[in-house]
Amino acid sequence: MAEGVNTSMGASAALDYDAQLMLRVKDGDGASFTELLEKHRSPVVHFLYRMIQDHAVSEELAQEVFLRVYRSRNSYEPTAKFTTWLFRIATHLALNWLRDGKNERGQERLDDLSGDGPVREVPDKRVTGEQKMLYEVRLDEVRRAISALPEKQRAAVLMHKYEEMEYSAIAKALDCSESAVKSLLFRAYETLRARLAHMA
């Protein structure tokens, strides 16, 4: 079985709607897979993008995540929440990618954080050029602060902040205990508070 595609995670999760959809995929219903894809595509891509900070790679890895979900349809058992399983696969792929290419890509990525992916607009259209520049500078600082976190701390923060996942779900995705997750989050936010304190 593919790593991270361990569907027997022990916890007796209630049969959520996503799990029901996945069981239909198991029975050969392609439309249910499309529904799962539509629902979870953006969160998975965004999570991977914030982990890796490379838009093209994050989409490639997200494709691999859904491909693994599809491949595992026949062996799927809804013993854990679907999103927990999904983010376990995504985290595993992201951590592997970061570890495999750390030496070659790490420095390059940090040097070129702002030049990747589609250009985002400042939310308020009435802002001046100076405000827009300030916004970009601050955004760059946030990206660098996240990128500087150790990989597991980074994954824990992103799942906690953006995916609003519970400690137990993050623990399953990272394959560690809940107390380890609390410790990871506490240390990560401590680092971020120190690095971003000047933005007050």
């Binding site: 891509v45 595992s72 026949n74 996240i146 971003l196």
Partner: protein, 163 residues
């Protein structure tokens, strides 16, 4: 209320408070505590700053052809021959066994190389025979050499006499 920041077990209450994931009763208790506790109030201010900074980081939208590319990959995989699918299928339960099997093979090979005589049981009789025949062969060879020397010397003396 005990100061949550000084207790490892309750420190996550402050994170949950900033994330607005604390129930109303605990929220009220914590807010009351933060009016008098400078450390917790500072923690909250710093954490809310981080929260706002992270809120500002919007990820780029997913490219429109994401689904199409994924379905292409799924179709391409389905069209592959069965033996190629064996390597990508999550049902390939044998994959984790490969390193174990390789390790076992190495151990067995190492044992066999380390104990080369163990594989053939010792048989004293053939060893005895071999040594006897070898001695005979050596003796015969020495006899032959002696005979050759005698022939050689007799031939030399015969030729000198004839001269």
């Amino acid at each position: 209320m005990n100061c949550p920041i000084r207790n490892e077990d309750t420190a996550d209450l402050l994170l949950a408070y900033t994330a607005r994931r604390l129930d109303p009763v605990k929220t009220a208790l914590l807010e009351g505590h933060m009016h008098t506790c400078k450390d917790c109030a500072e923690f909250r201010a710093g954490q809310e700053l981080v929260w706002r900074a992270l809120d500002a980081w919007e990820a780029a939208p997913v490219t429109p052809d994401f689904n199409r590319r994924l379905y292409q990959r799924i179709e391409a995989e389905a069209a592959e021959p069965w033996y190629k699918r064996l390597f990508t299928s999550p049902m390939a339960m044998w994959k984790p066994i490969v390193p174990l099997a390789a390790a076992c093979l190495l151990v067995v090979a190492g044992f066999v190389l380390d104990h080369p005589n163990n594989s053939t049981p010792p048989s004293p009789q053939p060893t005895f025979r071999v040594s006897v025949s070898e001695a005979d062969q050596v003796e015969n060879a020495l006899d032959d050499l002696q005979l050759l020397r005698q022939l050689d010397s007799s031939a030399t003396s015969g030729s000198s006499e004839s001269m």
